[in-house]
């Protein structure tokens, strides 16, 4: 797995658009992903960043977004410095047919992430949480890096 890109933003809502921008831009340039898969990944990352930002309460807390890939997959890891949480202790929602469902405006983020990406792994401790999201897809054929050699033109 090769580290492509590292982005660190303040844990504040105004920076979440940048995280989306970077992820969708990398996903479209590195991977042969259909546009709707890119949208899926973008939304999943946005949900993970929202949770990371909401969990951060200290001034100066930051959220880190790591993008890695290898031949077959693209991985985005969102890490925060929040207090962590227990994934197994999350409440479950009433089914959407139940009028009670309207009392739950929250709690849609993690189910969305699970549906949108091929694979997701949560690692949470009192030092923070990391959410690793993976999508599979063929790499684009990249133009090999080459010497500019403009001097040779003359």
């Amino acid at each position: 797995m090769e580290l492509i890109l590292e982005l660190e933003i303040p844990a504040s809502p105004e920076y979440i658009a940048i995280a989306r921008l970077v992820v969708s831009s990398i996903a479209s340039s590195r991977r042969n992903l259909a546009d709707d898969r890119i949208d899926d990944l973008k939304l999943a990352v946005s949900e993970a960043c929202t949770n990371a930002i909401e969990a951060s309460s200290n001034d100066g807390d930051r959220v880190q977004i790591l993008i890695q890939d290898d031949d077959e997959k693209l991985e985005v890891n969102v890490q925060d410095q929040g207090p962590g949480f227990d994934l197994d202790a999350l409440p479950t929602h009433p089914p959407v047919t139940d009028p009670e469902r309207l009392n739950f405006e929250r709690g849609l983020g993690i189910p969305l992430i699970r549906t949108l990406v091929d694979d997701v792994e949560f690692a949470s401790s009192t030092g923070g949480t990391s959410v690793r999201m993976t999508v599979y897809g063929e790499p684009l054929e990249l133009h090999p890096p080459e010497d500019l050699g403009v001097d040779d033109l003359g």
């Binding site: 809502p13 105004e14 979440i16 658009a17 989306r20 709707d36 949208d39 973008k42 939304l43 946005s46 949900e47 929202t50 930002i53 909401e54 089914p95 959407v96 047919t97 469902r101 309207l102 009392n103 739950f104 405006e105 929250r106 849609l108 983020g109 189910p111 969305l112 549906t115 949108l116």
Partner: protein
């Protein structure tokens, strides 16, 4: 990265709120405030037009569900206009297509 919020009063008894831009944890509070303001003005039949929305996440969904809940408690309703597949998908995955009436156009929404 600013959220566009335009109120159209030409469809009484419906109030149409056209949203433009990205609805996320940064911008959703403004959508929520606008909905609260409309409801407090006694507008209880609201159509939220999402055709100009480029991105919508669960925070945006939460604000819409909250608005619907508030309107229902006033015997009102909150309908949506949305035809964009990538936005519709978010409602489908979360099962909210069963909670909201989603229309193809403002005309269809105010007709029905």
């Amino acid at each position: 990265m600013d959220l566009g919020l335009e109120v159209d009063d030409d469809h009484a008894p419906y109030t149409v709120l056209a949203v433009k831009g990205e609805v996320d944890v940064y911008t959703a509070p403004r959508l929520r405030e606008k909905l609260v303001e409309l409801v407090s003005q006694g507008r209880h039949q609201i159509i939220v037009d999402l055709e100009g929305v480029d991105f919508l996440d669960s925070t945006g969904l939460g604000v819409l569900v909250g608005g619907l809940k508030r309107l229902r408690s006033h015997d009102g309703d909150l309908g949506l206009v949305c035809t964009q597949p990538r936005i519709l998908k978010v409602f489908e995955i979360t099962g909210l297509t069963k909670v909201f009436a989603i229309h193809d156009s403002v005309a269809a929404a105010v007709a029905g």
